[in-house]
């Protein structure tokens, strides 16, 4: 599953996908990472169904309410697994321009963040245990504003490190104060 790559081209968009910029996607491994929580939901659904069966066998309780609920949860999990998570991950794009970094994501609710290199205070590279196993990392840009939400998840570790170094070099050349 990890290597399954569902590439969905984003529709042209003058605001959120500025034409001309070199937009790069994130690693499809992020789909795997984001599917772990869905796995938990799927397990809960299976547990509900099993519970229904067990209750019917041991007592006179009806099978259908719990089985139905379990099937509903499974349907949600399948939708998340095959449709929502891949689409959400595929909507992440970032572009390094000469003087600023663009990050966009979201399909239904869209967001674009523009961070001038001169405003970067800290560049963080972080990876949780699952990301580490998958070999991906998150690059976060911190500015003096608490509202800046500039985060690129799911970059292959070496890409993340290269990006960090490039950003740090550019930031050093252009840093300005408050």
């Amino acid at each position: 599953m990890a290597t399954l790559r569902i590439v969905i081209d984003l529709p042209a968009d003058p605001l959120f996908l500025e034409p001309g910029a070199d937009w790069r996607p994130v690693s499809p491994k992020l789909i795997t990472e984001r599917r772990y929580p869905v796995l938990v939901i799927a397990v809960v659904g299976v547990a509900l169904m099993v519970l229904g069966v067990v209750l019917q066998l041991t007592s006179a309780a009806s099978l259908w309410p719990l089985l139905g609920a379990g099937l509903g949860v499974e349907a949600i999990a399948l939708t998340l697994w095959f449709v929502v998570v891949p689409r959400m991950v595929n909507s992440w794009r970032y572009a390094e321009r000469a003087q600023d970094l663009l990050i966009r994501h979201g399909r239904v609710i869209r967001r674009l963040t523009v961070v001038p290199y001169g405003r970067m205070q800290v560049i963080e590279v972080s990876a949780n245990p699952i990301s580490q196993r998958l070999g991906i990392a998150t690059v976060t840009l911190v500015t003096a504003s608490a509202n800046t939400n500039a985060k690129i998840p799911g970059l292959p570790t070496e890409v993340a490190q290269e990006l960090r170094d490039r950003l740090a070099a550019k930031g050093e050349a252009m840093t300005a104060g408050l």
């Binding site: 003058p14 605001l15 961070v115 001038p116 500015t143 504003s145």
Partner: protein, 526 residues
């Protein structure tokens, strides 16, 4: 406690030898940063003032502990007659005395552990060393270049004793701010001058640029000087009369008269009063229609109404006390705000520390042509909207002049482009009042059907730009553009822009911000 009172400007003269210092004798100002210089103490009355609040809390706790006895008035009667066992009252009294002693001791020890000093390195860069903490020691080194605003505050009790607190706001927010409480007022003012010299080292270039770039700046009050009697905003216009200077040599730019402030405050809170009137009317009407039983029923909501009423009243009185006696002075590099009736605040803001300016016009104020001006400062007080008031109330023209004075733009002169066509369906009441205008050095937006506000942000202050589009906005081809500002400043938002308009705005904001960044500034924020 009276070992030494380093109240004077020279630390060497004091006999106090703080335990924390490695006792380097000589002039503190000449000592290099890596050697701990002689520390200066806060005023010896500080522990008393500090423990005052603690004592109040402890007394309340003690009263709570012995509430049964205290509440039982009969018990006191019996005690006076010698019937009851004498346990409770002396015990409570003893507890209070004991806690008083403990808190005074703790406050005194923490006062002993608190000290500060100014050091200047060979480059003339000033640093404030601030040592505090009895059990957990804090050693702060504050780069004076980074100070965002300098306040000299006087709460009521210290004010009666002639003491002041000196507060330095830092960009990193509340936790990084330094509050030197308490100092003798004269010392606090002297220190303020000293600190401003150092902040001015950083900003002198910018200030000079600004005065060159804006030669046409006049006094904000000049426009209002013609009708100041009616407006309540009097001004000392440079051209008309010799400028009025206060004792510190700063020039008075504007002041707000009490009756103007009170009227504006009452108008601002009029909705709460209307609610009260409506409730009373409802009471009368229901009594007339349904008789006295209805009146009793209506009294059931008496408590929430009373609470809301009391909250509103205290809020209004609080803001009136805070803004009373409001005076705005011009300093060489910025402005100084002085206000307060019982507690006084003196806040000094350099022009190049201002992150954004907002012009606020509540509905009822617009009828009288009044407006308030707020400034955003990095690390400034976030809790209260009015805390950052540059002008609590003024004639609109004067307020605009003031904005022009601090930012160099005339907010009314911009051409405000309206929101996208679909905005009417998302915000049927307010969409008409949304607008964005670009200026040479910043961007402004207007919004608000009832409470109109115009927010201006210089491109220089933009940290990042965010565009956001919700599901409904996408259906209507709209997007909201945010400008992210440093902590302490209100986020700038342009809601419901048409899509290509938003794209232009984002592009333009990015381009102009980069243009500001290009001459790499050496004043980095560490």
């Amino acid at each position: 406690m009276t070992t030494g009172t380093p109240e004077g400007q020279t630390a060497a003269g004091s006999t106090a030898s703080p335990r924390v210092a490695e006792a380097v004798d000589g002039d503190a100002a000449a000592a290099p940063v890596d050697v701990t210089p002689q520390l200066r103490r806060l005023h010896p009355l500080t522990p008393v003032l500090r423990s005052w609040r603690l004592l109040g809390g402890l007394t309340a706790a003690a009263l709570g502990l012995f509430r049964d006895q205290v509440e039982n008035l009969a018990w006191i009667w019996h005690a006076l007659q010698g019937d009851a066992e004498f346990g409770g009252l002396p015990k409570a009294f003893g507890l209070v005395m004991f806690s008083l002693l403990i808190s005074a001791l703790a406050a005194w020890l923490s006062w002993r552990a608190t000290g500060f000093a100014f050091v200047t390195d060979s480059n003339g860069v000033g640093t404030l060393l601030f040592h505090r903490g009895l059990l957990v020691r804090h050693r702060s080194q504050v780069r004076l270049k980074r100070v965002q605003s300098v306040d000299v505050n006087q709460p009521l009790v210290p004010r009666l004793l002639g003491l002041s607190a000196l507060r330095l706001d830092m960009a990193a927010g509340e936790g990084a701010s330094v509050n030197l409480a308490y100092l003798r007022s004269a010392d606090a003012w002297h220190l303020r001058e000293e600190i401003l010299c150092h902040t001015a080292v950083a900003s002198a270039g910018t200030a000079a640029e600004q005065s060159v770039a804006r030669p046409g700046i006049r006094d904000p009050g000049a426009a209002a000087s013609g009708n100041h009697a009616a407006a309540g905003l009097t001004a000392a216009a440079e051209a008309a009369s010799p400028a009025w200077h206060d004792t510190r040599g700063d020039e008075l730019v504007a002041q707000v008269s009490t009756h103007h402030l009170v009227r504006a405050n009452l108008l601002d809170g009029v909705s709460a009063w209307l609610l009260l009137v409506a409730w009373l009317l409802g009471l009368v009407v229901s009594t007339v229609i349904w008789g006295w039983e209805a009146l009793l029923g209506a009294f059931a909501v008496l408590i929430p109404v009373t609470i809301a009423f009391a909250a509103q009243t205290s809020r209004q009185i609080g803001s009136m006390l805070r803004d009373a006696n409001f005076r705005l002075y011009r300093t060489p590099t910025g402005v100084r705000i002085s206000s307060g009736l019982t507690s006084t605040i003196n806040r000094t803001i350099d022009f190049d520390r201002i992150q954004g300016v907002r012009l606020m016009e509540p509905y009822l104020w617009r009828r009288f042509g009044w407006a308030a001006v707020m400034v955003d400062i990095a690390g400034g007080p976030q809790d209260e909207e009015k805390g950052a008031a540059l002008m609590p109330v003024a004639e609109r023209a004067a307020a605009l002049e003031l904005v022009a004075h601090v930012t160099g733009v005339s907010l009314d002169c911009g051409s405000y482009a309206g929101a996208g066509g679909g905005a009417r369906r998302l915000d049927p009441l307010g969409w008409r009042y949304l607008g964005v205008a670009m200026f040479a050095e910043g961007v402004a937006r207007r919004s608000g059907r009832w409470r109109r506000s115009t927010a201006y942000v210089p491109f220089q202050r933009v940290q990042s730009v965010t565009a956001h589009q919700g599901w409904l906005q996408r259906r209507l081809s709209l997007a909201t553009v945010y400008v992210d500002l440093p902590v302490g400043a209100k986020r700038w938002d342009a809601r419901h822009r048409a899509l290509d308009d938003a794209a232009n705005l984002v592009g333009e904001l990015g381009r102009r911000t980069r243009a500001q960044l290009e001459p790499a500034d050496e004043e980095l924020v560490g």
